[in-house]
């Protein structure tokens, strides 16, 4: 098992997406094997993520100022990767939901559960930094603009999913319920986005949104891309850590349930982990 090249092979297999990729995923269906994999990969990945983010932010800091926006354009190096990850994370959750319902992959609901708070956090970062960027540039912290509104709705849906995870005690049942809601949300998100855009364009014509223009100079683009890669690595690091914690906490839960259900035949000296 070539652990170190897991992400490399994942990208390589894009064109022959299918069997090999699924076999790779199935190999990690065993939580113990997954935990071993995490143990090996986590530290290098974390270091790589920190290094890349540091490089991206440094390059963003020394990058030339935008001729119109001045120094505030540097918010972009956090804002854009966070916004991108907020959507990437929901896509990952939707794929995990398919994994739960269709393939019954045992780690799929762990992945979905672990991803929800991280996605919510990135969405919140995108909203907050966007708001802080909007104040000097547009003169307002908030505008009922199509994109901002749909990101806000995405945030509410993340919160709803987290609430549903917390509301159902049994993790398997919770996983299924959340998977269905995630998929319904995945169908609805484009509809919401489309309708919000339509609603917005009805009431207000083209606004200051296109201030930056469609083309972006390479001197700004390179730090942005590096920063985006760094944030993505950070996401995977956090996601793996959260998945590891979720697996471990489920094991503890099982042990406690077993201990609670077991007849009291052991010696009284052992402390019951319940209560």
């Amino acid at each position: 098992m070539d652990n170190d090249t897991e992400y490399g092979t994942r990208i390589d297999d894009q064109e022959t997406f299918g069997l090999e990729f699924i076999m790779q995923l199935l190999a990690f269906a065993n939580p113990t094997r997954f935990l071993k994999f995490v143990q090996v990969v986590l530290r290098p990945l974390a270091i790589l993520a920190i290094a890349t983010i540091a490089a991206g932010l440094y390059l963003g800091f020394v990058a030339p100022e935008d001729y119109q926006q001045g120094s505030t354009v540097r918010i972009m190096y956090i804002h854009v990767p966070a916004a991108w990850l907020s959507m990437f994370c929901y896509s990952l959750m939707a794929i995990s939901a398919l994994g739960t319902l269709v393939w019954k992959h045992p780690l799929a609901d762990v992945s979905a559960k672990a991803a929800a708070p991280i996605g919510a956090a990135f969405t919140l970062i995108a909203l907050l930094t966007g708001s802080l960027w909007g104040k000097p540039m547009w003169g307002t912290y908030w505008e009922w603009d199509a994109r901002m509104t749909s990101v806000l709705i995405l945030f509410i849906m993340y919160i709803g999913l987290i609430a549903l995870w917390k509301a159902i005690e049994d993790p398997i049942l919770a996983g299924k319920a959340c998977a269905i809601l995630t998929l319904v949300g995945a169908i609805n998100l484009p509809v919401i986005k489309f309708s919000v855009e339509w609603w917005n364009s009805l009431h207000q014509p083209a606004s200051v949104l296109r201030l930056d223009g469609p083309t972006i100079h390479p001197s700004l683009l390179t730090p942005l891309l590096i920063s985006a890669i760094g944030f993505t690595l950070l996401f995977f690091t956090l996601h793996m850590m959260a998945m590891r914690n979720e697996i471990l906490s489920r094991r503890i839960r099982t042990l406690r349930l077993k201990a609670a259900a077991a007849p009291i035949t052991r010696q009284p000296a052992t402390q019951e982990p319940t209560s």
Binding site: L101, G160, A163, L164, A167, A177, I192, L202
Partner: protein
Amino acid sequence: MQSRSNTSDRKLHWARALLMRDIRLAIRVGGGTLIGVLFFTTVITIVPFGLGPDMKLLSVIAPGILWIGALLACLLGLDRLLQSDHDDGSLELMLMSGRPLELIILIKCLAHWLTTGLPLILATPILALFLNLDAAQLGAVLLSLLVGTPALTLIGMTGAAITVHLRRGGLLLAVLVLPLTIPILIFGVATVGAASDPLVPALTPFLALCGLSLLSLAIAPVAAAFSLRVLQH
């Protein structure tokens, strides 16, 4: 499917029985059909207290207020969709009956809409007087509610099926369902706006609303039935 050599009328006899049962349960004592309309009326009535009795302002915001009131009233009734059937065990019987669950869901939605959505629409003309809504706009509001409220029930049914096993799912249900109903609200209000605004093509938002309703008609019964099957113990 245990389709025997019956006429199609006999085959769907159970469907009519289920529809009548749900309607009877809703309109008799403890059903709570009137509470939705009462809530709707109360919400509309308190709006002038909050905004001041400016008839001009009220007529401008009336379509939005009516739509938000209808949306809230629909949300209020969602926990009645499946909760009592789940509590007294009849939902289990329906699951085991061997009838197509999607159709059962659809019939329950129809019964719920007839006892929740339809009374709201019937109450709207009277409430429109309070809000100084003119006749053309009232027609547009009624039309958009007629097309939009079934979609609210259908989307709500999906949420109700997901949260039916929760002990206190009512509030969570509202939180989960509300973001999904935003497009309905947007196009519902836009339909009314387009009716009075010569700059906007009148039919476009209405057709979009129809499309959304049809989309939820296609997705919601399948999603709700799927989650009921998957989540049963």
